[in-house]
């Protein structure tokens, strides 16, 4: 049994690191402007069910309270966490790839953090803190797929060089196939100007050089939005992204099929 409170604190700390992605970086031109704001939802809250962790007793035992899908979280004031905000266009400089890895932890059969940003080529450190088997299945479109298992507690894999995500891609989904509810998203960029919204939907991108940019937001459930933005040295620009409807743009080919079904086997038709 893991102390839930402690986990929560740790995770908040993890989000904190991701929010200030720009602190860690050097190489290209760094500025003094700050862009910050909130991610909000004005539409009706989504209906959700608690995650059924009965699939793996080891997972269920790690939680005293029901867990909900992170992508559907909405705070009572309508703010939403786990939105990924980044400068989509307008960044010109070339930025170094940091050698400090981005850490993904598997804890209580959830990924911590659920959404994070990284720079293409930055190493990934994946840890298993659960007393059960996980597999880590990345489903990128532009980068190389990976899919491996960590069958027990304490194992960790460091992916670097050609093994990590080497090309910018927003977003890469990471999934655990053993525990189908487990997913994480990585925003892979070529520069350090990104943030992930946290408590109160707040986010902040620091050290932005003066210039004109396209500021974009991505959210797993609500989709993407873009806004042009201009910053001057030393200035702080605020922008609040508000999703007004379920913009869920899932790039799926909608078909009229029932999941996993098809013609009933003729011979053994009841």
């Amino acid at each position: 049994m893991v102390n839930v409170k402690r986990v929560a604190v740790l995770c908040l700390a993890a989000v904190g690191v991701a929010v200030s992605g720009s602190d860690v970086l050097a190489g290209g031109p760094m500025g003094t402007a700050t862009i910050k704001g909130k991610a909000m939802l004005s539409a009706a809250k989504p209906s959700m069910r608690a995650i059924d962790m009965g699939a793996d007793k080891a997972c269920a035992a790690m939680h005293s309270k029901p867990q909900y899908p992170q992508g559907k979280m909405v705070f009572p004031d309508g703010s939403i966490p786990y939105a990924f905000i980044y400068l989509k266009d307008g960044v010109t400089g070339k930025y170094d790839t940091p050698s400090t890895p981005v850490e993904i932890d598997q804890q209580g059969c959830m990924y911590r953090p659920h959404v994070f940003g990284m720079i293409a080529g930055q190493p990934l450190l994946i840890k298993n803190n659960d007393d059960t088997a996980h597999n880590i299945h990345a489903l990128p479109k532009k980068n190389a797929q990976f899919n491996f298992s960590q069958p027990k507690k304490g194992l960790e894999n460091k992916l670097e060089g050609s093994k990590t995500f080497t090309r910018p891609e927003v977003m890469v989904k990471i999934k655990c196939d053993v525990h189908p509810w487990m997913s994480a998203y990585a925003g892979v960029l070529s520069h350090p100007f990104f943030a992930v919204s946290g408590k109160g939907g707040e986010w902040e991108i620091k050290n932005v050089p003066a210039g004109k940019y396209t500021l974009a937001i991505w959210h797993e459930e609500w989709g993407t939005m873009e806004v042009p933005i201009e910053v001057a040295d030393g200035a702080t620009v605020e922008h609040t992204f508000t999703y007004s409807k379920a913009a869920a743009q899932r790039d799926v080919n909608v078909r009229e099929v029932t999941v996993g079904s098809g013609p009933i086997a003729r011979a053994s038709n009841p």
């Binding site: 088997a133 489903l139 899919n147 491996f148 080919n253 098809g262 086997a265 003729r266 011979a267």
Partner: protein
């Protein structure tokens, strides 16, 4: 007939003159001589046999001690195959499992019994100077070797080796890494088998010595003949299947991918998996098993042939029921094409179809019983000479009996419900191929070694090799039958996950130690194999007092095989003929002699 005699003459004259002026690499490396190719096949396949066995020994460590870091080898294996703590990873387990099956079947056992023994012995036993198409024969070997190297190289490629089982069931195989290289390797191996089988059939039909009618052929040649037909007709459907799966993987077709798949939460088609659907996963299984069931007989028929040779020679009496054995294996060959779907009883096929295949499966067990019974009855009234090859041939009989009998519960769809895809299946077919076919291979090596090298292998080391091998084989595979009866699924990386696995974990421990001791028991064989080649006792051309034609050639036979033309005057196994002082009467000895 005169043409054949003339041909043999020419062969000798030519061979004697030709054998000397070839440079080393033409004589021993890129040779077109069936004997050199046979030896190349044998040695390559023995290396693959050892390699495939090593993969299994690593897997057995994980099964005996789930999750424990691998000693020694753990640090040699790449990060895909082992976890950070150097224990075997689930991916590594699947890779090793798939490659163990592939290597053992396609790269070790079939090349040994067909490519190795078939190539070396068949032309000699029919009195031919070489195979019908020597260059095709060489092409067959080099195609096999390239296929093998491609398979081996796949371990070091991005994505690693195949990990979807040797059966490569779609859709898993279509979406798993490593499979493309596996398919390319298979295409090369299939090509090799096709070239080889065409060569064998033509050789056996066209190149027999004068007087060697079909019913005077040694049983081994018959076995190779039927085997060649199985390879010729059963492999192309697998090639077709491999082409289709290759298209699925690289061109994005959906032959084996049905509509509406959701892989890892992604609805197909996606950019990475552009499968539009509409295909049938069962199509792959039908095409695969249409090959793979005859393939089982490809594994076992030549082994029966070797055992028959060794038994006849060392009992010093003719085989009991030679003709019925021949008819039995011809019938077996035909039937093996209509039993394939007994591997698919659990796929939801209709009961009528199930019963059809169950019936053909029961029918096909009869000829196996005939052959086995004939071999056992051949012992009656014998004067047995217990040398190493005979010990292995004798051990083949009960081991193959267990393997064959345990096939019965799997051949009936009702009992198969409980036993399908459990360790019972593994125990069953390993009894057929491991202490079965591989023991026959050992018997063949000890038997024909003097022909190849002119020297005998050590009898002492032979016995040191035989007894631990026999015991260990049973220690490994008998527990699997019990594990299977408990319902433990095969291909389970960590058996402790399941109740059934926990109940029978002790057997895993026993099996694994059996496997490791078996490996040690092969050391005397390896020493014997190489040491005897230089220091073994020199022997005459016919050290076992055998009757078949290969012993009429010098040891080792020169290029062109026979010093003078051979003709055949009688049945293959005229041992202890009444009224003659000698207890054997070679096929080529004229009657007035």
């Amino acid at each position: 007939m005169s043409a054949a005699t003339h041909g043999s003459h020419a062969g000798h004259d030519h061979g004697a003159a030709h054998g000397h002026d070839l440079p080393f690499w033409r004589k021993y490396v890129f040779s077109v001589d069936h004997k050199v190719i046979g030896v190349q096949y044998t040695i390559t396949a023995l290396v693959f046999l050892l390699f495939g066995f090593s993969l299994m020994m690593i897997m057995r460590y994980q099964l005996a001690y789930p999750g424990r870091p691998l000693p020694i080898v753990g640090s040699w294996l790449g990060p895909g195959l082992v976890n950070a703590d150097r224990s075997l990873s689930p991916d590594g387990y699947n890779v090793f499992g798939a490659m163990h099956g592939t290597i053992m079947v396609f790269l070790a056992v079939v090349p040994l019994v067909v490519g190795g023994f078939g190539n070396y012995v068949v032309p000699l036993q029919i009195g031919a100077p070489d195979m019908a198409f020597p260059r095709l024969n060489a092409a067959s070997y080099w195609s096999y070797l390239s296929g093998g190297l491609v398979m081996f190289a796949s371990f070091f490629m991005k994505g690693g080796a195949a990990q979807s089982g040797w059966t490569s069931y779609a859709p898993l195989a279509v979406i798993s890494p490593g499979q493309t290289v596996w398919l390319l390797g298979m295409v090369l191996l299939i090509t090799s088998s096709l070239l080889g089988s065409v060569n064998f059939i033509v050789t056996i039909v066209q190149l027999r010595a004068p007087g060697l009618s079909f019913f005077r052929l040694p049983f081994f040649v018959w076995a190779q003949f039927v085997t060649a037909f199985l390879l010729l007709l059963a492999f192309p459907p697998l090639e077709a299947a491999a082409i289709l799966q290759l298209m699925d993987r690289i061109a994005g077709t959906s032959f084996f991918m049905p509509t509406g798949l959701v892989v890892s939460g992604q609805i197909l088609p996606t950019e990475a998996l552009p499968h539009t659907g509409g295909g049938s996963p069962l199509l792959w299984q039908h095409l695969f098993w249409f090959l793979a069931h005859p393939e089982v007989y490809v594994l076992i028929l030549p082994a029966m042939g070797i055992v028959a040779e060794v038994v006849a020679n060392n009992t010093r009496k003719p085989l009991w029921g030679y003709r019925s054995m021949v008819y039995a294996i011809i019938f077996l060959g035909f039937m093996s094409f209509i039993v394939w779907a007994h591997h698919m009883f659990m796929t939801g096929m209709g009961t009528k179809l199930s019963l059809f295949f169950a019936t053909t499966t029961m029918i096909i067990s009869i000829p196996s019983v005939v052959v086995l019974t004939a071999l056992i009855l051949s012992l009656w009234g014998a004067a047995m000479r217990f040398n190493s090859q005979f010990l292995f041939a004798l051990a083949f009989l009960p081991m193959f009996a267990i393997g064959g009998l345990t096939g019965l519960p799997l051949g009936l769809p009702a009992s198969d419900i409980h036993l399908h895809d459990t360790y019972y299946v593994i125990g069953h077919f390993h009894y057929v191929v491991a202490p079965g076919t591989i023991f026959a291979i050992f018997a063949g090596v000890y038997h024909w070694y003097p022909k190849v090298t002119g020297r005998k292998m050590s009898e002492l080391l032979g016995r040191v090799h035989f007894w631990p091998s026999l015991i260990c084989m049973n220690v490994i595979f008998l527990p699997m039958l019990f594990q299977g009866l408990q319902g433990l699924s095969r291909r389970t990386y960590d058996p402790l996950v399941y109740d059934a696995g926990q109940a029978v974990q002790g057997w895993h421990f026993v099996s694994s130690w059996g496997a490791w001791i078996l490996a040690i028991a092969q050391i005397p064989f390896i020493i014997n194999f190489f040491w005897s080649a230089v220091a073994g006792k020199k022997v005459s051309d016919n050290p076992w007092d055998a009757t078949t034609l290969e012993w009429a050639a010098p040891s080792p036979p020169p290029h062109g095989n026979f010093l003078k033309s051979v003709s055949v005057y009688r049945d293959p196994y005229v041992y202890s003929p009444p009224g003659r002082p000698s207890d054997f009467w070679p096929q080529n000895q004229p009657p007035e002699d």
